[in-house]
Amino acid sequence: MAQPSQEGRQKAEMEENEDAAITWSDETGREEGRLDEDPMNKNVGVGEGEKMVHPANTLEGDAESKIENAAMMEESGEEVQPFAEEEEEDSVVIPTRKRPEHIIPQVEIGDRMKEPLVEDGVQSKAESSGGGWGSSLGSWGMSLISSATATVSSVGHTLSHVVEKAEESLGILSPTELSAEGEETTQATVPTEEAGGPAGSEEDPVVKEEGVEVEGDEKAFSHGGAFGMLGKLGGMTASSITSIVQNTSKTVITGGLDALELIGKKTMDILAEGDPGFKRTKGLIHRTNTLSQVLREAKEKEEQRLAQQDEDSLAAPKAHYGLLFDEFQGLSHLEALEMLSHESDGNLQAVLSSLSGEDLLRVKAELDEIKSAMILEEIDVESDVVEEKDEKEQDLMNIITELLFQVHIGVTPDKLNRARQKADAWLKEVQEDSTPKEAAEGLEKEEVVKPEKKSVQDVHSLCIQSLAEVTARSIEQLHKCGELILHGADPDVSAMQRAASLTRLTVALCKELSVKSEKFASCLSTVGAQEKPEILNPLVTSVFLEASNSTMYIQDGFQLLLPILQLSHLQHSATPLAPT
């Protein structure tokens, strides 16, 4: 029995072209590994044996190549020895790939025997690799693994149910051959589902795709010939087989989706267990709609806390990012930007709904282009920032100015620069304060320096203040960009160009913040060198935390520009405009 892993579309092709085996073009990349290992595949031709829809094999091929890359494992070895778990333990990277299923269809066993085998394989693997993880990741890893195992077994249950169903429907047809068929169909989905474990969302589209392919197959079948099984089924008409296969496929797919959903839910639960902050974040997301609302709430909470604190003791208010951010009008600008963004979005939808047919498609494509231009690439802060801090520092200002110039709306980052310079100024001051201090310390102890020296708390509030100010100014900058773009900026510069410049601008701003936060942190450590780690560490941590928050705000603000840019694009293009 051949083990082709072909898709329906390709089957259709095969009908036209007997040499279809060679035309497995689009999947070739993924399949390559398999083809090499399993020369049988190449012989798959029309009418030969049973040609099973086996899209999952492609997936597996995919997963395999990932594994190959990630864990550098010898694939061929694994092919032969699917249960070689010692090898698996080494690869921490992809816990859920399902080697056993991959092999099982090749081994011809009674289908009922296979089923438990599959599950066993899955579980034992999860457990065995669990051991590997546990040792490296500690107890957290263990708990994750145990939950994962539980998930896998419950998924296994769902699957076996699906398998039964599939068999039921196929069982009408005939004995071993057919149920083996059903088994294979089912098997096909198994790996997909299991692979969905860690990256459910990622796998999702694949499943859908699979669905399409399976249906495509059925069409191919009904043309006859391609489905070798047909020949063996005397009494059955092609169409009834088709419908049975169709039903089976549907059951399998629905079951697969159910299993995926289950995995997704489980993953959320597990995540939530492992990370107590996760629930809160999730709650926050559900409770509020906009970032400015979230920030406002945070700010108000802090105000409340401060008010209470003031009553208790007249302790000086500690630096609080949210309050400061509002004080620098960051919140207002963000809010205004949100309003602008929503309004633009509304106008955009109005324009879109007034279009139809080709116009609509064209405009949509154009808007999508802008959207994709605004995808922030992974901001790789660590790599280049650390190396050449000082040069970068100088450059950044120029970069920002230049990028704003490219946006071509006549905005200068004066305010932003002032905020940055302010931050630099005090940083310098503090550093100068603390450097001679260390030298002088040996001689005159604390007497001379003490009055001028800033405490760690002072420096910390300066840090937070600067972060809040720079962020607020960045948001303001983005807001101004948005306003000026809508205001009818130079139509010579396309929205696309602007999008690109703004994207780079955002990246530059984020980098700037991370450079700053590192400076702040090192400054804090210098000043607080004598402090106990219990005091110093939380301060340093909070600087980094707020810096990452700042980055997030800026990126969110940036995203708000999208509808604005899109709208401006529509306004400048020849598209007939709805009143705005």
Partner: protein, 206 residues
């Protein structure tokens, strides 16, 4: 409370705002782009209220943008320049804009600015009063330079908004009206009054 400033370019909204928030006067001001912000804590009825002021660009070309911001306002200050009749003549369009794009309950105050320039006065105080009466606005003449009536203008507006809140005219739970109730400060409610200080677009500048 969010208040909104609305008036014609160059009539001195930004100056008024600066006088109110920082208590200083700066004769030369950059052209306002879109909207700028100012905030000040004031006390109404013994309660601390944060007045958040949106200072909008007065230029005609910014009008479509500033319109988007009205929605967030609980009050508006409509400002004209008493030395320039054109700014007064534009009031109607701005008033329409404000009414159309905001809640019908928005408190609107009419302000004739630059009252220190009596010698160059072009619009009589009576005219302003008449306009205000006609449209149900509160009227006041101010000078950002001498700070005359500046405090009063903002605080009166805030008080009126506050009163409307007390009367339950504003639906506080509605996020769109620019009123955000802050946390309780020892029993005192902090309402943020938005002063929507809008400039009227009329071209020209000071």
């Amino acid at each position: 409370m969010d208040c909104f400033f609305a008036c014609v370019a160059g009539v001195g909204k930004s100056c008024l705002l600066l006088q109110f928030t920082d208590k200083r006067f700066q004769p030369v001001h950059d052209l306002t782009i879109g909207v700028e912000f100012g905030a000040r804590m004031i006390t109404i009825d013994g309660k601390q209220v944060k007045l958040q002021i949106w200072d909008t660009a007065g230029q005609e070309s910014f009008r479509s943008i500033t319109r988007s911001y009205y929605r967030g306002a609980a009050g508006a200050l409509l400002v004209y320049d008493i030395t320039r009749r054109d700014t007064f003549n534009h009031l109607t369009t701005w008033l329409e804009d404000a009414r159309q794009h905001s809640s019908s309950n928005m408190v609107i105050m009419l302000i004739g600015n630059k009252s220190d320039l009596e010698s160059r006065r072009d619009v009589k105080k009576e005219e302003g009063e008449a306009f205000a009466r006609e449209h149900g606005l509160v009227f006041m003449e101010t000078s950002a330079k001498t700070a005359a009536n500046v405090e009063e203008a903002f605080i009166n507006t805030a008080k009126e908004i506050y009163q409307k809140i007390q009367e339950g005219v504003f639906d506080i739970s509605n996020e769109n009206n620019g009123i955000k109730i802050g946390p309780q400060h020892g029993g005192a409610g902090t309402a943020q009054a938005g002063t929507l200080a809008g400039q009227q677009g009329g071209g020209g500048c000071c």
